[in-house]
């Protein structure tokens, strides 16, 4: 079994699943109906992308693994998503800014992953990129609207910026399996995305009249399975049914 390739694909899948799950928590709770629908659509895209990656990972994992067993029967320490994906939704501003940081990263990542020598990864990237373009546009517009909006909205997105910024460093800090994946031609060296990511994020923050934070100490560890206390709660809710009633279908 190609463990490095499996870890790399699981990392991509876990990012999409966990962020998708977080966004789905807004379903029925959005600030207005249209935006409730928007964030739910974005959640659905994430789950769809995760399914495609998990299906691909399952063929490598063998041993009877399926997309469902990979999503529902692994523990916190097995998950390889970035910490940014699992932080709580907070208010609308925090959710928006998290989505914007992530979409800017996924947009650059999937653009390059289209060149992967793993045909399935290239195909998933090509498909996902079209969806992420919508997410990036939508979240950029919201960051600008909130930052350059009322005193209240500006305070909220400013707080979100302060809270989330230390989680952004991990996005472009490659794990060992990412470096191996890149050198074998099927993955992307995310450190090569850093300057483009910073540039896109800075231009939107500036348009939102928000100061770009200094790059200080950054959180990391999610890609290696060292997570915040929040992931366990997500998995407990998400995996409960399959854990309590193995193989349940409806």
């Amino acid at each position: 079994m190609d463990t490095i390739r499996l870890n790399y694909i699981l990392h991509l899948a876990d990012n999409a699943l966990i962020l998708g799950h977080r966004n789905s928590e807004w379903c029925g709770h959005g600030p207005v109906l249209e935006q409730d629908i928007a964030i739910s659509n974005i959640a659905l895209d994430g789950l769809g992308q995760a399914r495609n990656f998990y299906q691909s990972a399952a063929t490598i994992a063998g041993n009877g693994a399926t997309e469902d067993s990979l999503a529902y029967l692994r523990d916190v320490i097995d998950f390889k998503n970035c910490l940014l994906a699992e932080v709580p939704n907070g208010d609308w501003a925090q959710t928006i800014l998290r989505q914007f940081f992530f979409s800017a990263y996924q947009y650059l990542l999937y653009t390059k992953l289209q060149q992967s020598n793993d045909g399935q990864l290239a195909a998933i990237a090509e498909k996902s990129l079209k969806e992420v373009s919508y997410h990036l546009r939508w979240s950029s517009e919201w960051v600008i609207r909130l930052g350059d909006g009322t005193e209240e909205s500006r305070t909220r997105i400013g707080n979100a910026l302060e809270f989330l910024w230390p989680y952004t460093g991990e996005l472009c800090l490659p794990a060992g399996y990412e470096l191996d994946a890149a050198s074998n031609g099927y993955g992307v060296d995310v450190s090569s995305l850093q300057s483009d990511w910073h540039q896109r994020v800075s231009s939107v923050l500036e348009e939102a009249t928000l100061a770009v934070p200094e790059t200080g100490w950054m959180q990391s560890g999610g890609k290696q399975g060292r997570h915040t206390e929040h992931l366990g709660y997500i998995l407990a809710e998400m995996q409960y049914l399959q854990r309590a009633y193995p193989g349940a279908e409806w």
Binding site: A38, G46, G48, G119, K127, E131
Partner: protein
Amino acid sequence: MSTGLENINTLNTQDDLKKQVYQILETVLDPEVPVLSVVDLGIIRDVQILAPPSGGGGGWGVEVFVTPTYSGCPAIDIINVHIRMALLQHGFKEIRITQLLSPAWTTDWISEAGREKLKAYGIAPPHYRQSVCTPEAFQAEEAIQCPLCQSYNTRLVSQFGSTACKALYQCNDCKEPFDYFKCH
């Protein structure tokens, strides 16, 4: 689901069978936009006829190559079930449904007939590719025609609508809100 189509056992060549498969697939509708068939939608990428296994006892089989519209489209699984049922009902024995992700589906593949059906159903059909989404914020919108009063004086309410493939618009003239099958 009686379609009045010939029984496949009376057809001889693989070409005839392939045509027949497409006719059968024309009767399989998108559950979320039930005026469009899967063929209209452009998600059927290819059809391969599988010869009956030698030694007799089997029948014609078929492999259908399907691409999803959006990665997370919840209709994918049900569409595959409907395709399988329709083909079984017409006498095909072995049915394989293979998912193709690349090239990625685009609304350019929606047939002209499909565009007319969408409009008659009250959904503005997608423009061709030049207006595909770019990530730049607040990009200029192309004028979308109101499917009810035909006015181009319309506005985007939300890029995300009742299903992944649609955006929400409102007509500034007749005031009616409507769905736009967004360019993808």
